[in-house]
């Protein structure tokens, strides 16, 4: 078999496929065989390049030429010019919008890549269970620098100037948090890594711990030095066995190298880390609840002040940061605050990792600079909506966040803009929804989550959220009234205003944001008793279209409750009294004769 001299990579991502990438492949193959080059050049369809805006994309290897907006009829030119004559097809090259220059080598057009990996810099590159690989990638160079060249004040100053804000959701300035903890004097202080990632649909912390555990260990050590703590604790979900295993391995290796323990780098500074396990309580992501859980108590939040920086774990000053925040620290120390603060927006520096999920083509873990727009995330990186359906909303911030819609697509993503839009950054879950999602049901889903995860300590969260979810349930069952809509809004406002902890205070956000952005959908449920998305079972009716039904009996045979009747080869009928709306009949019908009304 021949070894190919050249490869033509044609983007087969959904966005590009829609604009005829299959045609491009076949045209290219046709041209190549005409020229007798089939054995020298291989054409292959690939996954999405993440540049759908300029698709379809054809990349020529090994010279890395990157053709954009290629049409099937360009195939002949590419073969004739580039493959045979070795001349790049200038008109298909990407034009830099800044200086209007055509760029031929994709190595010089990294900027098209919307993603920048800082926190995830080592994930997927190094073997997380081999400390040597971390070290060879500048690992532990930051703590070395800190312990041999810097004072605690300088470290705090560097982190402050970088503009890094907490990646766990709240966005509190990390440097400031460290400074407060450093100023509270005590015989013992603690550094805590919050790895109790609980947002359903967010898994970046787990990925970092599984892919790059040493970066967190190194950062916690830096944190310990900065605030004067010698003990670190990682509070991690018990549901993450692999992350726990990799952390244990990493801590063991760091100890062997003397990077944890006594007298690190001969500096006289001691630091060590222990693991503490969560046990399935979302509220333990809240720092006071987390601390109580580590102390062996029910994970109930307590009011602040006192803040953990004053009185935290074992009543000692404690600094709590989340995994992603820590993952940024070593590189900030190495490359400096100035470098970091150039990335992102004015008030939100650096990058944010998002877990892109839901009805989107490229479900995945992405890291983007702050200030990117939702449109870029969804349509470029995410490759657009699955099955070519219409975009409806994207939910950020998990149960504490809200839904963003069409009108927010071009809003730059940062802490403050998301809050202004009625959502929040949260830990970085980003769930994309299409027109098959019912927004009332989505609000109900989140409220049911909050009800289940509420600790039950304060009235607004314990009873208020329960009532909110009951009203939503009533609406999805078709029993809602206009007064209920009013009640939802008022109750939501009081819960926000009176709940004890962050979980309670933000729990009405999914309701408020869907009310604001999809008010008509609520009205439709309440007034017209209709659910356009076809989600709310009580508001749906399954009917068989007599014109399309051929009487194959497939539906009747598969109906679990025998609600479908009819003679063979005659149109069937669904008894709506018996129908449980399970959808089994629709799945079985080969004639599209069954529909939801």
């Amino acid at each position: 078999m021949a070894k190919y001299k050249m490869h033509l990579l044609v983007c087969g991502g959904t966005g590009c496929s829609a604009s005829a990438s299959a045609q491009i492949v076949s045209n290219l193959n046709e041209e190549l065989s005409k020229q007798g080059l089939n054995n020298d050049v291989q054409v292959i369809l690939t996954g999405c390049f993440g540049f759908c805006e300029k698709g379809p994309i054809v990349k020529v290897m090994p010279d890395n030429t990157f053709y954009t907006e290629v049409k099937p009829e360009d195939a002949a030119t590419i073969v004739a010019e580039h493959v045979i004559k070795g001349r790049k097809v200038t008109r298909l090259l990407y034009t830099d919008p800044e200086n209007k220059e055509r760029i031929s080598d994709s190595k010089h057009m990294g900027f098209y890549k919307k993603q920048l990996r800082i926190a995830l810099r080592n994930c997927g590159f190094i073997d997380p269970e081999n400390i040597d690989e971390y070290v060879s990638n500048e690992g532990y160079a930051a703590i070395a620098k800190v312990l041999t060249e810097m004072t605690a004040e300088q470290v705090i100053d560097e982190v402050k100037r970088s503009g890094l804000r907490g990646r766990g959701g709240g966005g509190f300035p990390t440097g400031l948090k460290w400074e407060i903890a450093s100023k509270n004097h005590a015989d013992q202080k603690y550094v805590v890594c919050n790895a109790d990632e609980g947002d359903p649909g967010a898994f970046m912390d787990r990925s970092i711990l599984e892919g790059d555990p040493h970066s967190v260990i190194e950062a916690m050590t830096i944190n310990g030095f900065a605030i004067g703590a010698t003990k670190g604790l990682i509070y991690i979900r018990a549901e993450y066995p692999l992350a726990i295993h990799r952390l244990q391995v990493a801590i063991g290796q760091a100890r062997e190298y003397g990077l944890l323990g006594k007298d690190i780098f001969g500096s006289g500074f001691d630091f060590d880390i222990e693991l503490r396990y969560g046990a399935g309580a979302f509220v333990c992501g809240e720092e006071t609840a987390l601390i109580h859980s580590m102390e062996g108590l029910r994970g109930e939040p307590t009011f602040k002040p006192p803040f953990p920086a004053q009185s935290g774990y074992m009543q000692k000053p404690t600094n709590v940061n989340n995994v992603e925040t820590y993952a940024n620290i070593p590189i900030i120390i190495l490359k400096g605050a100035d470098w970091f603060s150039k990335i992102g927006t004015e008030k939100s520096k650096g990058t944010k990792v998002f877990a892109l999920a839901g009805q989107i083509n490229n479900v995945g873990l992405i890291e983007v600079p702050m200030g990117i727009t939702l449109r870029e995330v969804i349509y470029e990186i995410g490759g657009g909506i699955k099955n070519g359906r219409a975009f409806k909303a994207v939910q950020t911030g998990g149960p504490s966040g809200g839904c963003l819609t069409e009108k927010h697509l071009d809003t730059p993503i940062d802490y403050d803009n998301l809050i202004a839009a009625g959502s929040m950054m949260g830990s970085g879950g980003m769930v994309v929804m299409d027109d098959t999602s019912c927004m009332v049901s989505i609000a109900k889903f989140y409220l049911e989550f909050t009800v289940e995860e509420s600790c039950g300590k304060c009235t607004p969260c314990r009873i208020g959220n329960k009532r909110l979810s009951e009203i939503l349930d009533k609406i999805t069952k078709g029993n809602g009234t206009m007064a209920d809509l009013e009640a939802l809004r008022n109750l939501a406002a009081v819960i926000k205003d009176t709940a004890l902890c962050g979980l309670g205070q933000t729990s009405p956000n999914p309701v408020l944001s869907t009310l604001d952005n999809f008010g008509n959908e609520y009205l439709e449920h309440v007034r017209d008793k209709k659910c356009s998305a076809g989600v709310c079972k009580s508001l749906m009716k399954y009917v068989i279209d007599a014109e399309h039904c051929v009487g194959c009996t497939a539906c009747a045979r598969n109906c679990p409750v025998n609600a479908i009747s009819g003679e063979k080869k005659m149109p069937h009928v669904i008894n709506t009294e018996l129908c449980i709306k399970c959808g089994a009949c629709i799945e079985r019908c080969k004639f599209n004769a069954i529909s939801i009304k």
């Binding site: 309580a281 509220v283 029910r298 109930e300 307590t302 009011f303 002040p305 009800v451 289940e452 995860e453 509420s454 600790c455 039950g456 300590k457 304060c458 009235t459 607004p460 314990r462 009873i463 208020g464 329960k466 009532r467 009951e470 009640a487 008022n490 109750l491 009081v494 926000k496 205003d497 009176t498 709940a499 004890l500 205070q505």
Partner: protein
């Protein structure tokens, strides 16, 4: 003291630095309603979970409302306690609580004294806009305490009292979210838990979720049964608290009106537990002196200190937690039980009534007494020495049921002989009182000298753990005192670990002693009421013509006619008891 300048409702206020908004406001007469907040001033007990959110206030510059109970005053703070936003939020919070609370106020034991009911009235709530699922729990009928957790509002007062004040650990918050409730381990009945029935949870509960087993009906039935001779005894602490139920100031002494009311209700004999308290001193005092002299003589079979055993909550506590020390407490029964035993033997014989035709009712400041009188060892052929034990609150209820105008009653005396008592008996109602009463008698017996001054002020006070040494004419007697079971645990642990040496220790389960008992009128966290009752106890003592138990002429008569001598054979049978190991032990299965 440092101060900060703040504004509350536009009024400039100088508040103590470090103080919470709630207290700063109360100090200047601005009332902010609370529900979960519960403090026993001076008893190191504070329940401040910040959970009910009723006390929220608006603080300028803060994005959400602040709980006044848990927000510290800061220089320049501007606070609005009753803005529209605050009142709306407070109202919604109370409406939410009501939406998960049975609206059975008409028949609720707490009706009229319920803090939630009062709050709903104050806020003018006439409708509960939120309908939905209500929490349902099985009713728990223990021998003394009823738990109807459908009514629980998760204020956590009971949990805090049970764990922090009493260190009993019977209760904990369980489950979470809407399902969260305070319960025993595995949500069993209290009877199957480590509960001591001290009832401080009942005293603390702002609503009707926790209440005592009410026996007023049984009492009325007994009284109206002509075949029964119904005898009533009243504990010392009742007379200084009962008046509160009729609008009198805490600490008002109503002994005479109480005796009169009991007669109006129809009790055949109105006696006094104080008589039995004097008897207790005779027995316990003798036992104390016997043990001291044996120890002094080098007898290794007896141990010191001797622990008082009047308090049934305390007895339950050591039977569960100090099973290695079951030989240490005095074997003397409590005054309630001594009274019952004497009434159903000596007195029944004397008036020619058969034991089974006599009904003994006790009025107690206590919930645990209900449990005590049901103990098997206090029964003869199934017939209890004390048939019914009712609380101060239940007595008030009876008086109201009989439409007696309590405040206009003329004072009457107790009947004799079992109604006669000394000042030493009265002080049983306050922490330190039993041991002081015992000291008055033991001193004279031990030294053979007459006490000039009967007031042992060193033994008095409201500090949780106290100790004093009394000079018995050259022999120093070390005395320890604890009230509140948490304090008792601290003291007992010191004894167990050999860190403290005492001859005698008095323990009362409730803070302040019986004056702060769980059966007393609800103080709703205002401990100054208990302090006033405490002071009244000593006033009552000071006003008594006889102040030493052994000088009570009817006690002398009882020994002469019936018992013989203290700690004699008859006493041993009637007036002494023994203790059981109620601890949990892990055992290998199979």
């Amino acid at each position: 003291m440092e101060f900060v300048n703040i504004k509350i409702d536009d009024k400039p206020v100088q508040a103590q630095k470090g103080q919470m908004i709630l207290k700063a406001a109360r100090a200047v007469g601005i009332e902010i309603p609370t529900l979960c907040y519960y403090e026993l001033n001076g008893q190191q007990l504070e329940n401040r979970p910040g959970g009910c959110r009723v006390c929220v206030v608006e603080v300028a510059g803060r994005k959400n409302l602040a709980p006044a109970c848990a927000t510290e005053v800061m220089e320049g703070m501007e606070i609005k306690t009753h803005s529209l936003r605050v009142v709306n939020a407070r109202r919604t919070v109370v409406e939410l609580l009501l939406s998960d609370h049975p609206a059975s106020c008409l028949i609720c034991s707490k009706s009229g004294k319920c803090e939630l009911q009062t709050l709903a009235q104050k806020l003018g709530i006439r409708d509960i806009p939120f309908k939905g699922e209500q929490s349902m729990y099985k009713k728990d009928d223990s021998p003394a305490i009823i738990r109807e957790m459908n009514k629980c509002i998760m204020c956590r007062r009971c949990e805090t009292v049970c764990n922090k004040l009493q260190t009993v650990g019977a209760l904990s918050a369980v489950n979470r979210g809407f399902m969260a409730v305070v319960a025993t381990a595995f949500e069993q009945d209290l009877a199957h838990s480590t509960c001591t029935m001290c009832g401080q949870c009942v005293q603390a509960c702002p609503v009707g979720a926790l209440s005592e087993v009410n026996q007023t009906r049984q009492v009325i039935q007994a009284i109206s049964n002509p075949a029964k001779t119904v005898v009533v005894q009243t504990a010392p602490a009742v007379r200084v608290a009962l008046g509160e139920e009729f609008g009198l100031e805490p600490g008002t002494i109503v002994t005479g009106q109480m005796a009169a009311a009991l007669r109006r209700i129809g009790f055949d004999y109105v006696f006094d537990t104080d008589f039995a308290a004097d008897l207790t001193i005779m027995e316990e005092g003798t036992e104390l002196l016997e043990r001291i002299s044996k120890v002094m003589a080098g007898d290794k079979s007896v141990r010191l200190p001797i622990l008082t055993s009047c308090c049934p909550g305390w007895v339950n506590f050591f039977e569960t937690n100090y099973t290695d020390m079951l030989d240490v407490p005095s074997t003397a029964k409590s005054p309630q039980q001594m009274f019952g035993a004497i009434a159903k033997s000596y007195w029944a014989e004397k008036i020619g009534v058969k034991r089974e035709d006599m009904v003994v009712v006790s009025v107690m400041p206590c919930v645990a007494k209900k449990f005590e009188c049901q103990r098997d060892e206090f029964k003869e052929n199934g017939n209890p020495d004390v048939d019914y034990s009712i609380t101060t609150r239940e007595l008030a209820e009876l008086i109201k049921q009989f439409n007696i105008d309590f405040n206009s009653l003329a004072e009457e005396d107790f009947d004799n002989p079992l109604g006669a008592s000394t000042g030493a008996a009265v002080i049983f109602g306050a922490t330190g009182g039993v041991i002081e009463a015992a000291t008055r008698t033991a001193y004279e017996v031990f030294t053979g000298k007459t006490l000039d001054k009967v007031d042992f002020t060193a033994l008095r006070g409201l500090e949780g753990v106290r100790s004093a040494t009394v000079d018995f004419n050259g022999t120093p007697i070390h005395i320890g005192i604890a009230h509140g079971l948490g304090n008792a645990r601290r003291l007992l642990d010191m004894v167990r670990n050999g860190e403290a040496n005492f001859h005698a220790i008095e323990v009362m389960a409730c803070p302040g002693g019986c004056v702060g008992g769980a059966g007393q009128p609800f103080h709703h966290g205002d401990f100054s009421k208990v302090e006033k009752r405490f002071e009244a106890i000593y006033r009552e003592d000071a006003g008594k013509p006889i102040r030493k138990s052994h000088e009570n002429p009817y006690i002398k008569q009882l020994y002469d006619e019936f018992l013989g001598k203290p700690c004699g054979e008859k006493s041993h049978h009637l007036l002494h008891t023994h203790y059981f190991d109620k601890s949990k032990q892990i055992e290998v299965e199979g």
